[in-house]
Symmetry: C2
Subunit: 168 residues, 2 copies
DNA sequence: GTTTTAAGTCAGCCTTGTTGACATTCCAAG
DNA sequence: CTTGGAATGTCAACAAGGCTGACTTAAAAC
């Protein structure tokens, strides 16, 4: 599924100067700032940080996910995640239910309050993304996603592709 | 939400469902991990962090830049930057020279040792970027950059565009 | 001569990452 | 039934790298 598109074999020469690549790197750096700017503002108002955002996002995306699964998606230690998760549970944004089949596992879901925060964050981020897409045009969107996927490490690509997708 | 599986091919109206936007957001998140993974490894070996990388990158990019200019590009406080800059100067990677015209200013340049680190970091990062570009194809590269630029905040876009560019 | 600007420094705080050690629970294999 | 190991949680300590606020020094600007 990863790469079956026509390899640029025949004219596989992309003229990629160091300067062009450098501009790509810098674009990534500056764009990521924009990407996180709106959520950061909302989070700060409510006393949370990016770590909370990430947790809320992926719990929303995969309701009932286990702590271990979340750990491997987020790529942090359980101690680090636990601190964040604990405050979210205490504040009533996340619910942790002991597994029925395997009672060692905890299944995480958002509460109404948690969904409300997720809404606010993802609305802001989607608006930014939509504006960027509109400015760049439909063809750009395709290319954007393709390059990003190609930039991921294998593990992360696997996680990315595993997320429920309502079609490209 | 019934059926949006058809890609909006070359339509000027973008059908941007929440799901599509969400996948873009997640792609950005996972890709940024890949983007920083290689430099992070190199930095760790040498006892530096991403903050050092950013400083070294932009000093290399704009030799002789002042501290104030660097501050506005990086978007951090001078106390934060100073801590990083001090270790780089102590370790002999960066040189700080009093300005000739305005003696309040310090002009920052990389030493040979600094250039060596910058080389290692940017080689790794460019290789990743080049591979991603190759996998995605030439048209994707255009779109990638366009969306990223559109995603930047105004200030950052200004900085980005101001960086010397040896042509697209 | 006063004010403003550029830079540096000190102290302290916060978030979010890390290790390491250890307790608990409980599934599953022997 | 017992035990090993997996999944989770928790405590403590630490580090990087953000932040604010207060303050100094030097030089430029007015």
């Amino acid at each position: 599924m990863a790469d079956q598109s026509a390899p640029p074999s025949s004219e596989s020469l992309l003229f990629l100067t160091d300067e062009q690549l450098r501009k790509g790197i810098e674009a990534m750096f500056f764009a990521y700032r924009g990407f996180t700017a709106d959520p950061d503002r909302i989070l700060e108002e409510r006393g949370y940080g990016r770590a909370h955002h990430r947790a809320v996002h992926f719990i929303h995306r995969s309701p009932g996910t286990t702590v271990n699964n979340l750990l491997s998606i987020l790529g942090v230690t359980k101690q680090s995640l636990n601190r964040v998760l604990r405050t979210l549970i205490e504040d009533g944004l996340v619910e942790s239910k002991v597994g029925t089949k395997d009672k060692r596992e905890r299944h995480l879901t958002l509460t109404d309050k948690g969904r409300e925060l997720e809404r606010a964050l993802s609305d802001a981020q989607r608006n930014r993304m939509r504006d960027a897409y509109r400015k760049a045009g439909p063809e750009a969107v395709q290319g954007f996603r393709q390059v990003l996927v190609a930039m991921m490490d294998g593990d992360m690509r696997r996680h990315y592709l595993a997320l429920k997708d309502a079609g490209q």
